[in-house]
């Protein structure tokens, strides 16, 4: 009997791992099934560019099924529940999928309705998110109409996927209004629940410097308790207020609903606790998780999902072969941060090392870390091609390894 591998979620992580596992096992050795609720695979980093007319939705969405190798079974349905004791997944359309190994890759669920007032008056009229396709498109239209006033870019609460995306949005908004010749009529504020521009000190300092240079106001330790769409303001739990004419918010995130419905599988927000180095679930040895769905102490990002996928593939193989797991995932994350006007920053970090300045060794030569450059911007653009043609098919990216390179980084004694 072939081994049965079931993957929940056919986004970045699910697709990549399905394709990698397909190369490990012949069709007679293992069946590989992927479940997703729809057939539209979105290149999510592209959502950042849609509001500014720098990308179109049709350029960043492709059919999911077409991203899989031969002999990957695709089920288009909502996941309803997992039976951890019977080793079986139940889908909304009634299908039952028994598994020998289960891989959770269902990412996050946006919950704007969890914040009082956010989905009330003004939602999708003067209050938007660019974290989903309809939101990014509506925001594009709203930005075009916007000719002055106060733009507030906000994170309701952490964790969120791609924690730098809202910062990038603020930087790109600065460039967008400058290019339209109306920057002087627009106030931009970046309102965050964190006590700084970013979670890690060295990067936070540099990013705060950039915000200041670009005349973007930084408001910290602001946790949104309520949104007043009609009155045009967000109100924090401790009763401070920030007025807006246009609100761009990143709503609360949680894991998929079935994770919470499956006793023991998820934590209090519906993320799946796993060993941070092997990605094996703490609830059952034959359950693994990766990407945004996994509860590990590192940013939720495509790069993280990618590096995790390499280690996870190897661990599924070892698990099924009865071998000891490979505990080599180190939390490596690598993110380009668009800063506008054709430039970007690069940060590279892991569980132990915060983002530091220096140089990142890459196939196209060293990329400057934590410093604006055109090369980094080109890197970010090139990544879209690599995503569809190398990352999803499960090919190794030249010169980029799952483990963080430590050479090239400038360690400052006061921060280590």
């Amino acid at each position: 009997m072939p081994q049965r591998i079931v993957i929940l979620g056919g986004g970045t992580g699910g697709t990549m791992v399905a394709n990698r596992l397909r190369r490990v096992y012949s069709a007679s050795e293992a069946t590989i099934s992927v479940v997703d609720r729809d057939d539209r695979h979105v290149y999510q980093p592209g959502l950042l560019f849609v509001p500014f007319g720098l990308a179109r939705v049709e350029d960043i969405v492709r059919p999911r099924r077409r991203q899989f190798r031969r002999d990957v079974n695709f089920y288009e349905s909502e996941v309803e529940q997992v039976d951890l004791d019977e080793h079986r997944v139940e889908l909304a359309d009634g299908t039952r999928l028994p598994y020998d190994v289960l891989i959770v890759a269902t990412g996050v669920r946006l919950q704007p309705e969890e914040t009082e007032g956010l989905t009330g008056d003004g939602w999708r009229e003067r209050m938007f998110t660019f974290y989903d396709v309809p939101g990014a498109e509506q925001l594009a239209a709203a930005l075009e109409r916007f000719d002055g006033g106060r733009l507030v870019v906000n994170i309701v609460d952490l964790p969120i996927k791609c924690p730098v995306a809202p910062l990038e949005f603020a930087f790109l908004a600065d460039a967008y209004f400058t290019e339209r010749g109306i920057r002087a009529d627009v106030d931009i504020a970046y309102v965050t629940p964190l006590d700084a521009a970013f979670t890690k000190p060295v990067a936070a300092e540099r990013l705060a410097g950039l915000l200041e240079e670009k005349h973007i106001e930084l408001v910290t330790e602001f946790s949104v308790g309520e949104v007043d769409g009609a009155g045009g303001k967000i109100v924090s739990w401790d009763e401070r207020e920030e007025p807006f004419d246009l609100l761009v918010t990143v709503p609360l995130h949680a894991g998929a609903g079935y994770v919470s419905r499956t006793e023991g599988l998820g934590d209090d927000l519906g993320f799946v606790p796993v060993d941070p180095h092997t990605l094996q679930s703490r609830v059952r040895p034959n359950v693994f998780a990766l990407g945004d769905a996994a509860g590990v102490p590192i940013s939720k990002a495509g790069s993280v999902t990618h590096f995790e996928g390499e280690v996870l593939t190897e661990n599924v193989r070892r698990f099924l072969a009865g071998e000891e797991l490979d505990a080599s995932y180190d939390g490596h994350a690598n993110c380009f941060i668009e800063t506008g006007f054709g430039k970007a920053l690069l940060i590279d970090f892991n569980y132990e090392t915060e983002p530091l300045p220096g140089r990142f060794p890459s196939a196209v030569g060293p990329l400057p870390l934590l410093k604006e450059s055109r090369l980094n911007h080109l890197g970010k653009l090139m990544f879209q091609w690599l995503y569809w043609h190398a990352l999803l098919p499960g090919r190794d990216l030249p010169g980029i390894s799952a483990q963080m390179p430590s050479h090239g980084k400038e360690h400052h004694p006061e921060h280590v």
Binding site: S223, D238, D268
Partner: protein
């Protein structure tokens, strides 16, 4: 990382003042850390601090502010009155457990 003496016992703390080892925590340590942060602990504070700490010891991670609001018996708005600015962070610090993971 520095070792300081609180209420007669040496405790190790990280750069932000969180205890490195949750087992070094005592009620006196909690009171002292609270005082450093301008808080005099009332029964309502203790309810939250104990909830945080127990949840951490049971599950290995501190609850988020959202589940704190839903499950500790103290609504989020009041949490902000008890622990100004960052309830989850402050209650974790006072409860002698690591900084909540949301912050990454």
């Amino acid at each position: 990382m520095t070792t300081t003496e609180i209420a007669g016992t040496p405790v190790e703390r990280d750069a932000e003042g969180f205890l490195v080892d949750p087992s070094q925590w005592t009620r006196e340590v909690a009171e002292e850390i609270a005082r450093e942060n301008g808080i005099e602990l009332t029964p309502a504070h203790w309810q939250v601090v104990q909830f945080m700490r127990n949840r951490y010891l049971e599950t290995g991670s501190a609850p988020s502010i959202r589940s704190l609001g839903k499950e500790s018996g103290v609504p989020i708005k009041e949490l902000y009155q008890l622990f100004p600015k960052g309830p989850a962070k402050l209650a974790a610090k006072i409860g002698g457990i690591p900084k909540p993971r949301g912050c990454i």
